[in-house]
Structures are given as structure tokens and as C-alpha cells.
């Protein structure tokens, strides 16, 4: 059995555990991704509250832990021990199952997200189709929860959400098709739907699809970037949970743990759609200029980035710990922050050691680790950019009215994405 486990670590194996038929590592990847996404959602919770507060010239959470760092954990504990209420008139079973549907759909898509050429659970032949299909199942959870609550606000929220998702999925799908069309511009003339294949096509053509046939790729990307905000029900398209009109929309009647499952599903879905955008248009796991700067020296320099990022975070945290007020009241917080900084510094050191140990391309296990960390780092960095944009949108733009939302979806985005698809096809035939 250990041999079965170790055989996947053989440097000659360069496929995903799913493709290699190695169930052990597939399970490990699933667990790592599940833990990673959960931690990312916790971080996102804190960053969103802090960033929104600073956008509005407030401090945000400051009391629980230094700079409110423990606030998400306190929130989670509070939600878990809260009373779980099911309204008397609600449809019990459907009310119970609705948050699970959303959560299942949001987490299932992570099977095919390519964090690297072999850093994915499985490389499906229909990867992007699978992702779009399963993530569109997430709306079922919202619709069903709104209906099962047997209350006016949730029902209206659910109706709005389903109408919105069905409308924006069309423009989203057409934008995706125009990117898939670009993968077929090679010698064989055959494209691919596999997520890993799409990134590899960008590598072979030597250009991220956002810059391909400028501005065609860029327009398709912008359409996707708008549609994905609507798909995840985030501001300025968060009409399904517009608090000024519908209290909390589809999850008005939910409380405690069930409500937190909705939040988890929403943030997981945000990360998932950002991953689609990164994979299709922003080169997925590739670092900047992988073809131009491909000398081993450049490889080494770029592989220092993960360690240096964590080092910078550790330095900032240390400075903040030093800047804490000197009263004895803050002593515990100061110690806590210093310990957190030390932890970040330790991670930075570990990453730097791996980068140095794996710098020779002799296909050792360390080299494989260094490569994997590199891929995951660049992928996560790009996704993190999108996650910040989500917060930025929410802080900046007012909510759309529902008729404006529909008008933009059907009368602006759909014709543009259709036009981009046709022009991309024509340009692709002419220039290939």
C-alpha cells in the first residue's frame, strides 16, 4: 500500500491523481482543497469586513483579537450555538435540504479547478462544461430555500434570483465559448474543454486569452467578469438579498448554522467562478511571462515569490504588533499578534527553503514540491485579485433596479457576447 501511495509522487507521473487512477491522492487533494477553501472563506470574511470598513472610513472589527483577527471564529462559534429555528409553516424537508444543495454545488466544482498541471483532483475531458453546469445547480438551493420558507420576502428573493441567473448564464456561456474557440487555434485545429487543456493552450500560443485578438478576448473577459458577479448574487447585482427591500431575501427565515451554510456556499461559489475566469483568460497557474523568461535563473527568482509574500505579511504583522498601544490592557493582543507574525514568518521560511532546495531541475521530490507551490501560488494570487474586486464592487456601486438588471443582461451583454463570438470565429479563421 505505501508503494501505491508513493508511486504517485514519482516525478515521471505528471497527471492529476484522478487521471492516474490514484484514489488515495485524489482523496488527499479533496481534503486539502476543502480545508483550503474553508480557510479562504474565513479569511475572506475578515478581509471583507475590514476592507468595507476602511472604504467607509470606519475601523471595522477591532475587539475580538488584535485588529479583529479572531472575529470570523467568534462569528462561527456564535452561529453554531444559536437556536436553529424552522418556521412552523415551512416545508420542513425542503427547508432542511436547501442549504445543502447550494453547498454541494459550490464545492463539487472544485473537482476540476486546475491549481496546476497536476494539482487538480481530476482532469475531466468536459471540465469547463462540468463547472458551468454544476455551478448553475447552485441557484436551485436559493430558489428552493425561498419557496420552502413559506414567506413573502424569501419567495420574492428566490424569484428574482432565478430570473437573474437564467438571464446572465446565457451571456456567460457565450463568453466562455469564445474563449474555448481560441483553444482550437493550433496545428490540429481541435480545441479542448478540459480546464488543464485550456491553460496549456494559452501556454502553447504564448498569450493569455485576455490579450488574444485584442480587444476581442478582453471584451469576452469583461462580459464574463460582469456575469459572474450576477451569478453569485453579489453587489451590485444582489437583488435576491436586497436588505432595503427584502430584509435578507431568500435566507430571511434561516438562522444559525443553516444561515452560515448559505454564506459558505456563496463565498465558495465566488472563489469557483473567479477560478473559471482565471483559467480561461488569465493563464491559470502560469507565472508572468513563462515563455519569454524561461531560463532556470528566472524560474528560481519567480519561485521565491511565495516565500517573499509570506515574509512581507509577517513583516507587516510584526510592525503592527510593535505599533500596538503600550497599555497593559493590550498586552495579550500584542503577544497574540506577535505569535501570528512568527507563524507567518515560519511559513515564509519553509517556502523559501523549499524554493532553494528544489531549484535544480533534477526532478527530485523537492523540485516537484517547489513547482507545485509555484503553480498554486500564482493561481491563488490571481483568484485573490478577483476576490478583492468583489469587495471593491460592493463598496463602490449602488444596487441595480430589477428592470435595469434585466435590460443589461438581455439587451447589452447578450448581443455583445454573441457579436464577440462571431467576430472571434471569423478572425480565428482568417489568422490561422
Amino acid at each position: 500500500m505505501p508503494n501505491f501511495i508513493m508511486s504517485y509522487l514519482d516525478p515521471k507521473v505528471t497527471v492529476t491523481p484522478g487521471s492516474a487512477g490514484n484514489q488515495f491522492w485524489a482523496l488527499m487533494y479533496v481534503l486539502i482543497i476543502f480545508a483550503g477553501v474553508s480557510v479562504a472563506v474565513i479569511c475572506m470574511n475578515w478581509i471583507e469586513r475590514k476592507a468595507l470598513a476602511h472604504f467607509q472610513v470606519r475601523l471595522g472589527p477591532m475587539r475580538v483579537g488584535p485588529h479583529g483577527l479572531l472575529q470570523p471564529i467568534a462569528d462561527a462559534v456564535k452561529l453554531m450555538i444559536k437556536e436553529d429555528i424552522i418556521p412552523a409553516e415551512a416545508d420542513q424537508f425542503v427547508f432542511w435540504i436547501a442549504p445543502m444543495i447550494g453547498l454541494l454545488a459550490a464545492f463539487t466544482v472544485y473537482t476540476v479547478i486546475p491549481f496546476g498541471p497536476s494539482e487538480a483532483v481530476s482532469d475531466m475531458n468536459i471540465g469547463i462544461l462540468f463547472m458551468l453546469g454544476v455551478s448553475s445547480l447552485g441557484v436551485l438551493g436559493i430558489v428552493v430555500s425561498g419557496w420552502a420558507s413559506n414567506s413573502h420576502y424569501p419567495l420574492i428573493g428566490a424569484l428574482r434570483s432565478s430570473a437573474q441567473m437564467v438571464s446572465y448564464e446565457v451571456a456567460m456561456g457565450l463568453a466562455v465559448v469564445s474563449a474555448i474557440l481560441m483553444t482550437s487555434l493550433n496545428a490540429s485545429g481541435t480545441g479542448t474543454l478540459s480546464m488543464i487543456g485550456i491553460v496549456q493552450a494559452q501556454q502553447q500560443q504564448g498569450v493569455w486569452f485576455i490579450f488574444k485578438f485584442f480587444p476581442l478576448g478582453f471584451i469576452a473577459f469583461v462580459i464574463f467578469a460582469i456575469a459572474m458577479v450576477a451569478e453569485t448574487n453579489r453587489a451590485p447585482f444582489d437583488l435576491a438579498e436586497a436588505e432595503s427591500e427584502l430584509t435578507a431575501g431568500y435566507h430571511t427565515e434561516y438562522s444559525g448554522l443553516r444561515w452560515s451554510l448559505f454564506m459558505l456556499a456563496e463565498y465558495a461559489a465566488m472563489i469557483a467562478v473567479s477560478s473559471i475566469a482565471v483559467t480561461l483568460w488569465l493563464g491559470g497557474w502560469m507565472r508572468p511571462f513563462p515563455n519569454l523568461l524561461h531560463a532556470p535563473a528566472w524560474d528560481f527568482i519567480f519561485s521565491l515569490f511565495p516565500g517573499l509574500t509570506f515574509g512581507a505579511l509577517a513583516a507587516i504583522t510584526f510592525i503592527e504588533a510593535a505599533r500596538m498601544p503600550t497599555q497593559s490592557f493590550f498586552k495579550i493582543q500584542r503577544i497574540g499578534l506577535a505569535v501570528f507574525a512568527a507563524l507567518l514568518g515560519f511559513i515564509a521560511l519553509l517556502l523559501l527553503v523549499i524554493a532553494v532546495a528544489g531549484r535544480s531541475a533534477d526532478m527530485s521530490v523537492a523540485a516537484r514540491f517547489r513547482e507545485g507551490i509555484d503553480y498554486v501560488y500564482w493561481f491563488v494570487l490571481k483568484v485573490a485579485g478577483f476576490m478583492y474586486l468583489f469587495i471593491w464592487y460592493r463598496a463602490t456601486w449602488p444596487r441595480y433596479r430589477f428592470d435595469q438588471l434585466m435590460k443589461i443582461g438581455w439587451k447589452v451583454m447578450l448581443p455583445i457576447s454573441l457579436g464577440v463570438l462571431v467576430v472571434t470565429a471569423i478572425v480565428g479563421v482568417i489568422f490561422s
Partner: protein, 191 residues
């Protein structure tokens, strides 16, 4: 260490995919499809029926995957489970479920339905009884990785050549276009 394991792994890498627990998955998916299919017609509450129908569609998508037809499975999820069922639910939610679930069945077409169901059952039974002659004697193992490309070749043809089903495909898309135009014209009061 099982010596067959490593060899199996290597051949799995060569083949691109190793099937795992095939009969088990088939029986689970088939049972799920049948059970939720029964639930669709026995639930009085229309939303429960719709949810059961979604489970049926997903189980059938899983069966497509087992038949090495991932593209069809993906389209099944994206079109039926994701698109059409959302619209179904959208419409059902606007209906007053309480009243409609208490209403008695007023049309008298159940004998026709029974007849159709019996005919379908007879067809299935005869297909199973004569199975040897109707089906190929061994399972076709299409490479899963080229399924999408093969569908594309059938629909659109190779370079410069019309595909096997190009004409039927284009006719079907024309039909859909006409249906879309019809829907737009019927809903618009003035054009």
C-alpha cells in the same frame, strides 16, 4: 504491496482513466433514477416532484458518464438540471400549491396512461429477453478523452466534408430559432 496495483496504475495512466467499482455505481445510479422517478409521479406537492425530477436527471447524467459519454452528461446537467428545472420551479412557485394539491384529479386519461406504460414495459421486457441479438456481445470501450471531438465530427464533419448529421443538426437549430421567434412574437403586444 499488491504487485497488480502498480501494473494497474501504469495501464490506467496509459488508458487515461481507470474505472472503479463499475457495477456498484451503476446499481446506485439506476436505483436512484428509478426511485426518484417514482417519487416524481407519486408526490402531490409539485415542488417535491420537481426536486425528485432533478435527482432523476442527475442520476441519468451519471449513467451517461459511465457509458463514456461525458459530453452528453455535461449537457444533461447544464440544460436539464440547471436550466429547464430552474424554469420549472420558477413557474411552480407562482402556483398556489395548497389549493392545487387538494384538488381531485378531474381528467379521465389514466387508462391511456396505463396502456402506454404497459406498452413501454413490454418493450423493455422484450429487449431484455432478446438482448443477445439486439446488443453487441461486448462493451464498446470508446476512449473517454475523445468523446467530445467525435460528437463534433459527427455534427460538423471533417475539414471540407459534411458530417453525418450536419443537416439534421442545422434543421433542429432552425426549428429552435423559429420557436424563439414565436415566443417573442406571442409575448409582445406590439412589435
Amino acid at each position: 504491496m499488491n504487485p497488480g496495483m502498480s501494473a494497474g496504475l501504469n495501464s490506467a495512466i496509459d488508458a487515461g482513466m481507470a474505472p472503479v467499482g463499475t457495477p456498484w455505481f451503476f446499481y446506485v445510479l439506476a436505483g436512484l433514477a428509478v426511485a426518484s422517478g417514482v417519487a416524481v409521479i407519486t408526490r402531490r406537492n409539485a415542488v417535491h416532484s420537481a426536486l425528485a425530477l432533478i435527482v432523476t436527471l442527475l442520476a441519468v447524467a451519471g449513467l451517461y458518464l459511465m457509458l463514456y459519454a461525458p459530453f452528453v452528461a455535461g449537457v444533461q446537467i447544464i440544460v436539464y438540471a440547471g436550466g429547464i428545472m430552474v424554469l420549472f420551479l420558477f413557474v411552480i412557485m407562482l402556483v398556489n400549491i395548497d389549493r392545487s394539491s387538494k384538488e381531485r384529479q378531474f381528467n379521465r386519461i389514466w387508462p391511456v396512461g396505463l396502456l402506454a406504460a404497459c406498452a413501454l414495459l413490454a418493450l423493455f421486457v422484450s429487449a431484455i429477453a432478446k438482448g443477445k441479438a439486439l446488443f453487441p456481445d461486448r462493451m464498446m470501450t470508446l476512449p473517454e478523452s475523445s468523446n467530445t471531438q467525435q460528437i463534433a465530427t459527427m455534427l460538423y464533419g471533417e475539414a471540407g466534408k459534411m458530417g453525418q448529421y450536419t443537416f439534421a443538426f442545422e434543421i433542429a437549430s432552425l426549428l429552435l430559432l423559429v420557436a424563439i421567434l414565436g415566443a417573442v412574437i406571442m409575448t409582445k403586444k406590439k412589435i
